[in-house]
Symmetry: C2
Subunit: 344 residues, 2 copies
Amino acid sequence: MKRLNLLFIGFGIVGRGLAELLLEKEGMLKSRFDLEVKTVGICDLRWGTIVNDDGINLSKALKLVNSGKALTNYDSPAKRDLTSLEAIRETTSNVVVEATWTNIETGEPGLTHIREALKLGKHVATTNKGPIALAYKELISLAKVKGAQLRFEGTVMSGTPTFNLKWSCLAAAEVRRIVGILNGTTNFILTEMEKGLSYEEALHNAQELGYAEADPTLDVDGWDAAIKAVILANVLMDGNLSLKDVKRRGIRGISLEEVLSPIKQGCRLKLLVEVRRERSDIVAKVDLTPVPTTSILAGVSGPLNAMVMETDVLGDVTIIGPGAGRRPTGYALLNDILEISKHL
Amino acid sequence: MKRLNLLFIGFGIVGRGLAELLLEKEGMLKSRFDLEVKTVGICDLRWGTIVNDDGINLSKALKLVNSGKALTNYDSPAKRDLTSLEAIRETTSNVVVEATWTNIETGEPGLTHIREALKLGKHVATTNKGPIALAYKELISLAKVKGAQLRFEGTVMSGTPTFNLKWSCLAAAEVRRIVGILNGTTNFILTEMEKGLSYEEALHNAQELGYAEADPTLDVDGWDAAIKAVILANVLMDGNLSLKDVKRRGIRGISLEEVLSPIKQGCRLKLLVEVRRERSDIVAKVDLTPVPTTSILAGVSGPLNAMVMETDVLGDVTIIGPGAGRRPTGYALLNDILEISKHL
């Protein structure tokens, strides 16, 4: 039996999504993968910290947080007075799950958490886009030096296979270009507007359904899509891009006319990410693009995500699936953990 | 450096597709995967047999066959008088690439080749649908007992990730239902007919382009799709189906009216494979089905293939790519070989 000791840094929607899947699939992980996952700590800025190398009862911890109570109410032995960095250092965790919020300017606090974990030779699974967009090359080198694994499947399309698709299924293929619908919120808004809703009405619906934040800037101004472009460029096409290198356009305040007029030309308007090789450079952009109604990307409606990889051996390979959500993003982390266990 | 000794059984379009990729990617396989692949034999009913444990020059062998000459004209030392079974037994090959033609009634001669290789503890990579559709459970048990690997990525969508997608990227997910466009020939014919061509004209075009055989029975009567349904059911959903268990409908002689009338209802007609759980059974069918123009599958035109896996964690995940062709199918074998090398 392989044994992993998990430390959660961040116990919001995503961290709890993973926790639920770990409980749901505990028996399957043992029987099918000979894998036992023990949680030795949970740190969250809002819910507090509990660590215990003998194991934390995840079910109890989830119950507390889901009913709005701090982890400090956990009724079994656990240390409660550690910072997240102390927890990374002082627990027997060998896998750190970094699922704090994304900061696209500094990557913090996630970047410091990931650096610290890797420095100690601990494997990292993260859904945090900031550190991967800002410091992928540094972090992957550090991981190699320390013999640790850094996995981040959930940073682009939540649990929909992205990096694993390339690394496992297309390992001997070269990726020449990537085109995708990688922001579900804006794709949902555009789909709603095609039904005749105004931008404001469509945004309101997205907020009601939990697809958009109260401040929708990151999504509607194309920042989220641009971050994903940077990650794809640097990880899958060996680029060296920063956010400022990505030509970026969003959908804020787009008129109904702009959305509906392509339809008369047999197209649908999509916010596309494109990463491609241009001579020896990798270039990336986020742009509103009319795509023919008969094309595959035109069929990607609502909050769905899609990625087309143009390869040297298969031509275009397209993957489509959810791009967000508690369960899909939790699954990305579960898959990262499985991959980590395979390479132990 | 990991070393594999390869024996080709079948050196037609698919086998040669692999051979070309092995030459093209030789340097990359060494540098990126620390893998050296040596060819120790090639057996083909039409082109003859050459085996040499010191290595066959693939480039020379390809040149002969591509210019219509038998392998017996190979100008370097090699034994020439072996049957394929003797070559499997008598070479130092540790990977047998089975790429002979598909026989959906007996699976032969592929089934015997695969059985023999596995019995000797040799790993097998195959694109041959017959043996996998007819005898998957038997062969996979034999492989386990003998400590050999059996890989067959190319049997359903050529190199477009299918089994590896499930095993590597969706390992901890349960597949509840599979729906797909898994026969490129019929999808091409239907797409052509949407432009106003008759069935006969569209079939003729498919034959001209090499998408359909002179005798198109396997494709147009739905047999090929049904075989793939059996393979998916038995491999990915633990079914125990035979070809006779699949409700099957083809497109032979379909009228223009049948293809065009769904369009007026906002649909496109597709030949869909469906595999699903029905109480404790797995059921499969191949049927002509109108799909809404706005759906993802409606955008899958021409010879493309698509597979939708309905999962417990991500909902629907769709993969779209080529379903046939020398290079894509050769790539499926290359990926199988890489996977085999990873697990050595």
